[in-house]
């Protein structure tokens, strides 16, 4: 196995250039037209932003629906969407639009927000740093993850899902190089439900899962 190269990352966030959405119909129009990176930011990069507490939902559209549109039904429907379960951002976009269209059809008026509470569309560049740290054996993976920054955890376990091999986190991809010997670890990693974790919590889950599978021993 080649050594595992530990990377770290940070987001450089910018406005997308899309006009703000002041009601649900405008939100739909903007989501239909926005770039994939905008969608990705509001669904997947929320964990790496400077936010304080875990919101009820992990994507910004659901949070906005709940807090500002005051539409808890829509928030629940959007909140359950798992971006990592979609094969592509286009598939995810179609799912979001379908939910919003259904909701618009149910409502007798289009929900709107007050000035100052508009949905503002953003996107980000992920800046990746080589930490210089290398992991040479799978038994060292759990303690190394325990020392990783939030940026490293995000890059290797979440952001990796969007890179080839698509849908595979970096830790699992590396363990696969070791063949059948590490199959139990792969099962453990695969059992983690990433939908509800902050990065700090996810780090603890990863360490626990690998320790349970024997890698940490």
């Amino acid at each position: 196995m080649n050594p595992f190269e530990v990377k770290d990352c940070a987001l450089l966030i910018r406005m997308s250039g899309l006009p703000p959405a002041v009601n649900l119909r405008e939100l739909r129009e903007r989501i239909a037209a926005c770039g994939e990176n905008v969608l990705y930011h509001h669904f997947c990069e929320t964990t790496l932003r400077p936010t304080f507490d875990d919101p009820d939902y992990r994507n910004d559209f659901a949070v906005w629906s709940k807090l500002y549109l005051g539409d808890r039904v829509l928030a629940e429907r959007l909140g359950i969407l798992d971006p990592y379960a979609s094969d592509s951002m286009e598939e995810l976009r179609a799912a979001v639009l379908d939910i919003i269209d259904d909701r618009l059809a149910e409502l007798t008026m289009v929900p709107w927000v007050r000035p100052g509470d508009e949905f503002l569309f953003k996107e980000a560049t992920t800046v990746v740093f080589d930490t210089g740290e290398r992991i040479h054996h799978p038994r060292d993976l759990a303690p190394a993850i325990g020392r990783m920054t939030n940026g490293s955890v995000y890059y290797h376990f979440l952001e990796a899902l969007r890179r080839p091999p698509i849908g595979k986190d970096d830790f699992s991809a590396w363990l696969l190089e070791g063949g059948e010997e590490y199959a139990s670890y792969l099962v453990s990693l695969g059992s983690i439900d990433i939908q509800f974790h902050s990065l700090a919590h996810l780090r603890k889950e990863l360490v626990a899962a690998l320790a349970q599978a024997g890698v940490g021993k």
């Binding site: 450089l12 910018r14 400077p50 304080f52 560049t125 800046v127 990746v128 740093f129």
Partner: protein
């Protein structure tokens, strides 16, 4: 590792410093010039005081220039500032002419430096017109807006927009502060320097010294608001809140602030504050000199609760400072305070003096909750609002602007 940066390793962590070192290698020798309107007083000068040396420390050829202006110029730029924050102000064409003329005078002096620089970062509206006065500029120009211009007074924004839309990029502290502009708009929250005089750890004797100096009773609870004497900081509302609390708890209040050379309105506000505090010996109104960082540090550390009851706010660095010192913060439900203060986690957001009084009473009656909020707040600042993160954002942004590509992933 460079000596200045290495001092932050124990606080920010080695990974943060590794990131900065890698970025510094990429940008070594780059000429970056910051321009603002005051060398001391206010959050921008404080940021530049540490940022410029640290940029140099990682290898960037950074410098800091300050524009000079007449008292009338600063009255006009204060009106522009207020207008951008939503206040209806009267700015006739002759005032904009004075604004342009003072920028022109400064351009005479700064033009060679600015036109040769690889990156010029213009802070806030005061020096923004310099771009038009440097037609042979070689580098990229960035406008850094530190204030909340989410709902500007339109006549002011319409003029300023014609000035700043020529920049190559702009930076805002929060998503909500940004205005549509025809160039990339980056989002970079500001930060604090944990080793500065204003934020370093203080010994008990230093805190006790300040307590004695200002006649603060150690036996009674203390509320502290540190900010310029500015109407948007609502010092009168803070006094009203403390008077409401005093009906049940013998609380003391310190309102401490300094003047800044670009803030002529401060004197009038201070007079109003003194009048509102008249006859209340437990309300201490302190006009501090611009270098009184240790005093401010001591006041924040001796506080039971830090207040920042602004009605408009940029980011609110005094909130960050209070959280870093392990204090619960009661802040106005506006601007960047919302990013930092979360109800029942790091403090409380309020909208009125009555709301502030209610939360003050809660915290003074629930010491365990107050201590827990302070602990959470400090870690929150460590993770998100220390200068190492801020410097990383700037260096990354410069790298991105120079590349001219808006890539999703950049390897450093």
């Amino acid at each position: 590792m460079s000596p200045l940066l290495s001092a932050y390793e124990a606080i920010a962590g080695s990974s943060a410093l590794t990131q900065l070192r890698r970025l510094g290698e990429k940008l070594a020798g780059l000429r970056v010039v910051h321009v603002n309107s005051t060398r001391e007083g206010g959050g921008v000068a404080e940021i530049l005081e540490w940022m410029v040396p640290l940029m140099r420390d990682v290898g960037v050829d950074a410098s800091w220039e300050v524009i000079h202006g007449t008292p009338r110029f600063f009255e006009i730029t204060k009106a522009i500032h207020n207008g951008l924050q939503g206040k209806a102000v009267d700015l006739p064409k002759k005032d904009w002419r004075i604004y342009q003329d003072v920028n022109e005078e400064n351009a005479q002096r700064l033009r060679p430096l600015l036109e040769e620089a690889d990156i010029v970062i213009i802070h806030d509206p005061q020096p923004a017109h310099l771009l038009k006065l440097c037609p042979n500029r070689k580098g990229k120009w960035i406008w850094r807006a530190h204030i909340d211009i989410s709902r500007p007074f339109r006549p002011v924004w319409k003029v300023l927009r014609t000035i700043v839309d020529k920049y190559d990029a702009s930076i805002f502290s929060m998503t909500e502060f940004a205005q549509p502009l025809p160039h990339p708009q980056f989002l970079v929250p500001p930060s604090i320097d944990p080793l500065s005089e204003k934020n370093r750890e203080l010994g008990p004797e230093e805190i006790a010294g300040a307590r004695t100096e200002f006649g603060i009773d150690p036996e009674r609870p203390l509320l502290v608001q540190v900010s310029r004497f500015d109407r948007f900081k609502d010092p009168i509302g803070v006094i009203q809140a403390s008077r409401l609390v005093r009906k049940v708890i013998p609380v003391q209040l310190v309102l401490a602030g300094g003047g800044a050379t670009d803030d002529p309105e401060g004197k009038a506000v201070l007079e109003d504050v003194m009048e509102a505090a008249e006859g209340a010996p437990d309300i201490h109104v302190l006009l501090l000199p611009s270098g009184a960082h240790t005093t401010i540090n001591a006041l924040q550390r001796m506080a039971d609760i830090v207040l920042q009851k602004s009605t408009r706010e940029g980011f609110g660095l005094t909130v960050t400072e209070g959280l870093w010192k392990g204090k619960p913060v009661i802040g106005g439900d506006v601007g960047g305070i919302r990013l930092q203060v979360v109800n029942y986690h790091t403090g409380f957001l309020v909208n009125t003096p009555e709301g502030a009084a209610h939360r003050i009473r809660y915290l003074l009656r629930h010491h365990d909750r107050a201590a827990e909020m302070g602990r959470i707040g400090r870690e929150f600042v460590r993770e998100n609002f220390l200068l190492t993160r801020h410097l990383r954002d700037y260096l990354t942004l410069i790298l991105a602007i120079r590349s001219g590509r808006e890539e999703r992933v950049v390897f450093v």
